[in-house]
C-alpha cells in the first residue's frame, strides 16, 4: 500500500522535468516495474489517476512496462526468464544463477508536445 507514495514520486519527477522545458507539455510518462520491485501495477495506476484528477496534470498518461525476473547462469552465461522461482539453468543445469533483471522501479521516458 505504498503505491500512492510511488505515484507522487513519479509526478514530482515529471514536474521537475517540465520545469526544465518551459512551454513544452509532457503527455506521457513511461515507468518500468520489475517483478521483484514489490509494486502492484493496478494499485499504482489507480493511485496515479486519483493523484492527477482535477489538476493541471489530469491528461498525463502513466504507461507501465512490466519487467520479468531475468537470471544469468554463472557457469555458461545463458540468460533465461525465471519462472516459478526455479533458479536452475535450463541450458546446462547449474544452480548458480544470478538475478540480472526484475528489480526495476525506473522512469524510462517521457513524451513531450512542443
Amino acid at each position: 500500500m505504498h503505491e500512492l507514495g510511488i505515484a507522487t514520486s513519479i509526478l514530482e519527477c515529471v514536474q521537475a522535468e517540465a520545469a526544465r522545458h518551459p512551454g513544452a507539455r509532457i503527455t506521457k510518462v513511461g515507468v518500468k516495474i520489475g517483478e521483484l520491485s514489490g509494486v502492484d501495477r493496478d494499485a499504482l495506476q489507480f493511485g496515479f489517476e486519483v493523484l492527477v484528477k482535477d489538476t493541471d496534470w489530469e491528461r498525463l498518461v502513466l504507461e507501465l512496462e512490466y519487467i520479468p525476473r531475468l537470471q544469468r547462469c554463472s557457469k555458461c552465461a545463458h540468460e533465461f526468464r525465471m519462472t516459478d522461482f526455479d533458479p536452475q539453468c535450463p541450458r546446462c543445469g547449474d544452480f548458480q544463477t544470478q538475478c540480472i533483471g526484475g528489480e526495476e522501479l525506473d522512469i524510462a521516458y517521457m513524451e513531450v508536445d512542443e
Binding site: G5, I10, F85, T97, L105, A108, M110
Partner: protein, 226 residues
Amino acid sequence: MNRIAVEKKVLNENQVLAEQLRERYREHGILCVNLISAPGSGKTALLERTLERMDKSARVAVLTGDLQTENDAKRLAKFGFPVKQITTGGTCHLDAKMIGKHLEDWKLEDLDLLIVENVGNLVCPSSYDLGEDAKIVLLSTTEGEDKPLKYPSIFFKSELMVMTKIDLLPYVPFKAELARENARRVHPQMEIIELSSTTGEGLDAWMEWLKARRQKARQKLQAVKG
C-alpha cells in the same frame, strides 16, 4: 511528439539520501542492519534478547518504527543503550529521510552498530533503501512456510532470514525444511538462522553473525584509512 529518455529511479530522492547515510556509516565503520518482517514475527523480542546479551560497553543504538505508540522504544530502552522511536503516523514503511532526521542528535562516532527495526510489513519496506549494509527478514513459525513465495521481493533483497519462535515447532503445522527451501528458491544465496527469543536457542548464531558483520564493517573502515 518527442520522446525523451529519462532512465531515473522512481525513488531517486530516497536513493540519494540512502547513499549519503551509507557513506556516513562507512566513514564511521558502523554496521547498519534493517530488520523487516510481518507484524508479530518477533522483531522487538529478538532485539530485547540481542541488547540483553550485549556487553554494557557495546556501542549500539536502535531506531524502531511503528505507526503509533512509543511502546517498542520503552521495551528496548531498559537495556541502557540509545533507542529512539520513529512513529510514522500511518506510513507503512521507514524511508531514508526519517532515518536521517532521527540520527541528527546522535554522534555517529560513538556507534559501531545501528539496528533499524522497520514497520511490521513485508511489502513496502522492500522498496526503500535506508542506507543499511544488510536487510534481514524474519519469518516466524506461526506464519506460513510459503511467505517467501508470496512476498518474494523482500526475501530476495534480504541477506539473512531469521526463523523465529522455533520453540513452537512441536505445536504448529509449520515445516521448517519447506520454509528454508522456499526462501532459497527466491534467493539461492540466502543465509538462514533459526532461533527462539523465548528459550534462547539459536541466539548464539545470531550474535555471531552480527559480530562477524561488525568486524567486516570495521575492516572496511581501516582499509579506507589505509
